[in-house]
Subunit: 212 residues, 4 copies
DNA sequence: AATGAATGAGCGTTCATTCAT
DNA sequence: AATGAATGAACGCTCATTCAT
């Protein structure tokens, strides 16, 4: 039993090691520019061995994405719980997202890429776990909105799920502006940071209870 | 003179024909899954002949994207001008966007893909024309917001460019929901259409002048 | 008649023009790096039109080589006739060769390339004319040697043809040393020029009549 | 240990096998006319497998050239050491060269082609080893000449390096006469063999000490 | 568990040349 | 005489993946 566990542990360690190296490479060069050769070389293990730990290249990549989503989830949870009102929690959720983006931009990129057309129509390992975590995220946002409606910091005409989806998908893109868009903002002396702040203000106006 | 024109016209027709076929293929299978071999085979012309009409694969793709952006521009312009107030114009801009998405989802996809990391760092034919059209779009939205501030249908604390960017980037993604997200909405009996409608409502709350 | 001649003349002029441009390109980039596209573009005529003047790319190239060989022939003839003794004439032939190399290194390169394996086993236009000129060269050298034997400036045990061939083929390579070889000489403070001079001295020792 | 060695040996054998086939093809058709497809087909291994053994086509070719240069080096060394005087050694060096050419004309050709413009400006595997062997050759010839000057079988006015270079580059070409040149000699009833013999006689006259 | 060897499929692009007009 | 359109053939190389051991 103990021996088995030891083996398992060792395997887990090695898996983690491979993941660390692959992550580094993917983050530097991008998914398509990194070959399994590159990874196995950098890891120091045979290419075929990598396949013992990961079904294929995609699975390897999605494991990394999963890491990122996990990190985000933690950040989100710990941040949001500090809020008192619903609207405050929503704002904190937004802040959590942007903080995640600032601290782990590569994970963020990887996550977006994992959801791009590049991978669709394929059954990929780990993608269900990623989805599950994504669902948790939606639930947290949803709950914040429900709370906001209850405590009257938000309009009661809002549909929590609808708003949560809106918030989530727009957040994803607000942090990743194209060079051209950044340029446009620059001309108005609006930094990316300020843009994000202002966007959160728009969010609040979107949901706040103006009657109160 | 007339002979030359005829030739030019014929060439233009041929070009269009290639573009039509390639478009079909790209829309079905995606950029990376379609090879120049596939295209030439489907077109019925030699691969090298394709290269007489398009510098390379990317140029071919971006020509298609350009088509789509052109179509959207027309739709946007004709829609927006029907609005009377600023906020009405903004709403119509949104409607134009969603209409475009509904009628030409593939063009929309192609446009997004053309802006993805997949192509960055490269100088690509037609990309400047695409950018130029994209700028026109931003200007139209911007003008609508300015008008809204002037006619007091929108808050005067808004920065037009900031809002325009926010609106534009979020619109891009609201229409492209992942299957999981669509599922989530479905459980709440919210159709994609309804979601879009509701999102436009959120937009309006975001910018409207509540004092009035 | 006169009209025909005029046409012929014009055609000849155009041919020369094409040749001039192609020559420039070949000399700059080398045979294999220049495409018929490049040439036609630079010439300003349609690719197919080039083919009206030259059977194919090789024929075009060999026309240029022919030019060079022609130039060399003239230089050789005029130089050699100034010599009084046979050995003097041989030396002058050598000098003519090296002068040609110095003044027209590109023609020299092209000539050597035309004789390389790159082209063998093929029937190429103009190659017989080139050969014919090459024969003239051999004859001139041969005659010089015969004269040298007669006037006793050279050993009478020499076979003129054998020596001529030896002189001709070695000359070709003495002027085109590899970077490594040039380096080796440099270490001994021997410049390429000096090497050539010394080589001509070796030639003279090779044939001179030591009894005299 | 022994297992590893066995594998290495097997790999070496396979490498040699590929080299043998490729050599055959290159020798028959020439470098540019043989594609990697041809080689892999003839070898009976997948194209990609060839790339496991050789970095690229050039590396494959230069491995073959290296073989040839190695063979020549052996021949040269063993021949030259049999000479007693310097001039004798020089003559033996020449004989070694011609013998090599006679026995391995294809290797000789390949070596010359490897030094042609076709490959310049590129860093190619094995080329440094080839250069190193070429340097050995030059050293051997140089030493022979120095010895010849010392033992007074050669003129003391000679610069050993200069003569060595002259001898080396001319030797390279004497053996590779064009069909036209061979024809010319034939008319004088001079066989290639006789031409080479006579050429060596010229060499000797070139360097010998006539005072002695 | 780990490896080295092997593979099939594919990639976009370029070329010299030839045709119908 | 001159053109624009069209073509077939080829090119070296890389990739993710899977075997036999």
């Amino acid at each position: 039993m103990s021996v088995k566990d030891l083996k398992k542990q060792k395997k887990e360690q090695r898996r983690k090691y491979i993941l660390d190296i692959a992550e580094k490479l993917f983050f530097i060069h991008g998914y398509d520019e990194v070959s399994m050769n590159d990874i196995s070389y950098e890891v120091g293990l045979n290419k075929a061995t990598i396949y013992r730990y990961f079904k294929n290249k995609e699975s390897l990549y999605f494991s990394i994405v999963l890491r990122g989503v996990g990190i985000f989830n933690e950040m989100l949870k710990s941040k949001v719980q500090a809020g008192k009102t619903g609207i405050e929690k929503l704002e904190l959720a937004g802040r959590a997202y942007f903080e995640f983006y600032k601290n782990y931009p590569d994970y963020h990129d990887a996550y977006l890429y994992s959801k791009s057309k590049r991978f669709e129509f394929k059954e990929i390992e780990h993608s269900s776990q990623i989805d599950s975590l994504a669902k948790d995220v939606m639930k947290i946002i949803c709950d914040a909105i429900k709370e906001g409606i209850d405590d009257k910091t938000m309009r009661n005409s809002l549909n929590p799920v609808q708003v949560a989806v809106f918030v989530a998908v727009t957040a994803e893109r607000i942090v990743e502006l194209s060079p051209q868009t950044l340029n446009l903002l620059k001309k108005q002396k609006i930094s990316h940071e300020k843009f994000i702040d202002d966007s959160m203000d728009l969010w609040k106006h979107m949901v706040m209870n103006h009657l109160k």
